[in-house]
Symmetry: C2
Subunit: 334 residues, 2 copies
Amino acid sequence: MEELVTVALDAMGGDNAPGEIVKGGVEAVNARKEVKVLMVGDEALIQEELKKYSYDHERIEVVPTTEVIGNDEHPVNAIRTKTDSSIVRCQRLVKHGEADALVSAGSTGAVLAGGQLIVGRIKGVQRAPLAPLIPTSKGFSLLIDCGANVDARAGHLLQFAQIGSIYMEHIMGVKNPRVAIVNIGAEEEKGNQLVKEAYPLLKECPSINFIGSIEARDIPSGAADVIVCEAFVGNVILKLYEGLGQTLIQKIKASLMSSLKTKIGALFIKSSLKRTLQDFDSSEYGGAPMLGLKGLVVKTHGSSKALEVKHSIIQCISFKEQNINVRIEDVLNQ
Amino acid sequence: MEELVTVALDAMGGDNAPGEIVKGGVEAVNARKEVKVLMVGDEALIQEELKKYSYDHERIEVVPTTEVIGNDEHPVNAIRTKTDSSIVRCQRLVKHGEADALVSAGSTGAVLAGGQLIVGRIKGVQRAPLAPLIPTSKGFSLLIDCGANVDARAGHLLQFAQIGSIYMEHIMGVKNPRVAIVNIGAEEEKGNQLVKEAYPLLKECPSINFIGSIEARDIPSGAADVIVCEAFVGNVILKLYEGLGQTLIQKIKASLMSSLKTKIGALFIKSSLKRTLQDFDSSEYGGAPMLGLKGLVVKTHGSSKALEVKHSIIQCISFKEQNINVRIEDVLNQ
C-alpha cells in the first residue's frame, strides 16, 4: 500500500462545525483512498457525527482536544494560551510531521498566526502568503497575498510570484502561468512606491513568466494566472469579489421575483442561470492555501459546508504528491 | 435673470468626441436654464455638430483650440507643452474665473495633473482627491480617493473624509453621511500602517460622522456613504467594480442565450433585468468630481455618451449653488 496523505482537520472551526466539517472529512476519505483524516476536536461530538456514516475506520482517527478558539479572540494571544485548542493541535500535528497538512474553517487570524508561529516557514521564505483561487471568466486565478501580514516589501512580492507560479503550475496544471502585479495602470512607471520597486524584480526573475501590470478591471476576465499584490490590496480584491457577487445575485433574484411575468421567465432560465452563478462560487475550489510553510495549511471559509471541506482535503493530496514544498525551497534558495 | 453657472466642456475628449460630447452639452443647456456651456475644441468640428440641434444660442459658446491631448501621452508633459489643447484651455478658463467648472472625458492623467497644476487647490487642501460615486444596493456611495496621487499620508485621508462628507451632504443630499475607512477587518487595531495612523484622526474629528472600518465585502451593500481610502486602493475598488460587473453581466447574458428554453425565459425577464443592471451602471450618476480645487473639475468616463456628459454638467449647478468650495475651505481651515 502506498503512503497515505494525512490531513489534520479542525473539526471545531467554522459556522457549521462539527456537523458539516466531519461530514466533509468522511466524504474525502470515501472519495480518495490515499487520504487519512485526523479529526481534531471534542471527542464526544465528533464520534456522535461519525456514527452517521460508514467509512474505512483505519483512515479516520479522532484526536481529542478540550478548547476552541473563537473568531473574536486575539489570534496571537489565542494560539499562545489555548494550547489544547483544535487549531493549535492541528498545527502541532503538522509541525511534528504527524500530519502533512491541516484544514481549518476556524478563526482566520489564528490559522494564519499559528501557521507562521507554530508550523513555521520553509527555509528561504520570508513571509508565508495566503493565496486563494478566485473565479474568472476563463476559470480561476491565484490571488497572492491575501494574508494578515500587510505592508510587504518588494522582495516579498517577488517570492509570492515565485511561490504562486509553482502552485498554479503543479497543483492547478496551468502551464507556464502568466504572472502580473496589481497596478493602477499598464505602464511600467505607474504605481505606488512598492509596485515601482517590485516591478523590475519581477521583470528580471528567470523562474516566472511575468507579463507586467494588471489593472483590477482585468482580473475578472482572467488576464493573468498569478495575481501578485500586497496583502491589504489582496484582501480588498478578495472581499469585494465576494460582496459584489452576492449583491448582484441578490438584485437579480429580486428582479426575477418582481412580477408574475418575471416569475414565469424565471422558471425557464433558473437552472442555466444557477450553473452560471455557480462558476463564480469560490467554494467549488476548496479553501485558500497558506504557502511557504513546512506542510500545507488550508483555510476554508467560515461558512464552509461538507463540499468545500472535502475539496480542501483532496487539494492536500496533489500538494504532497507534487512535492510543492521541495520545489518552493529549491527555487527560493537557488 | 439670475447668475449662470458656466461649464467649460472638453469637446475633444473621450472615445465619442466630439459628437456625443457636444450633444450632451446641448442637452444640458436645454434641460436647465441656469447653465451656460463653453464648447472647447476644434471650432469647425464643433459647429458641424451644433448645427444638428436647436438651443438657446446665448448659452452655448465655442472656444476654439488647436491641440488635443491623447490618452497615451505623459500627463504632466502634455499639459505643459500642449498649451492650446482642449483640456488645458478648459483648466485655464476655470483658473481665470471664466468658467465655474470643467467637464472632460479625455485623458484622466491630464485632467488630474492639470487640476492640481493649473486650476490649483483651495487654501488648506493638501491633495485634491478624485471621488466617484459607486452604485450600491441602497443607492450609491462616494469613494474617495481614486486619483493619481498614491501613497497618501494619514492627514490626507482625514481631509478626504471631511471633503467627501461635505459633497455627500450638500450635493447628494445625504444627511449626516456615514464615513468609513477601508480596512481588512472591523477591529480598531487591524490594518496597515496608514490605516492605523488615520483611524484615530478620523475618530476624533468633530466635523464627520465616522462609523469605523469597512471591509471591501460590505461596500456593495451600502454600509457607508463616504468610503475613505488611499488612491491605489480606491483605484483597485473602482476598477474591480467595473470589471466584475461587466464579467458577471456577460456571463448572465450568455447563459440566457444558451438554449431555446432560456431564450424564451429571457423574453419574460428582459426589461426587469435590464432595469436592475442599470442601477449598477455608474454612468447614470455623471462623472467623478475632483474635489478641493478652485472650481470644480469633473472627469467622466472615456466611453461617455451624451447622457453622462449631460449629468456631469448638471452636477456642476448644485456644486456652485451649494457653495461647496467655501464650505470645504471653512472646514479645513477651522
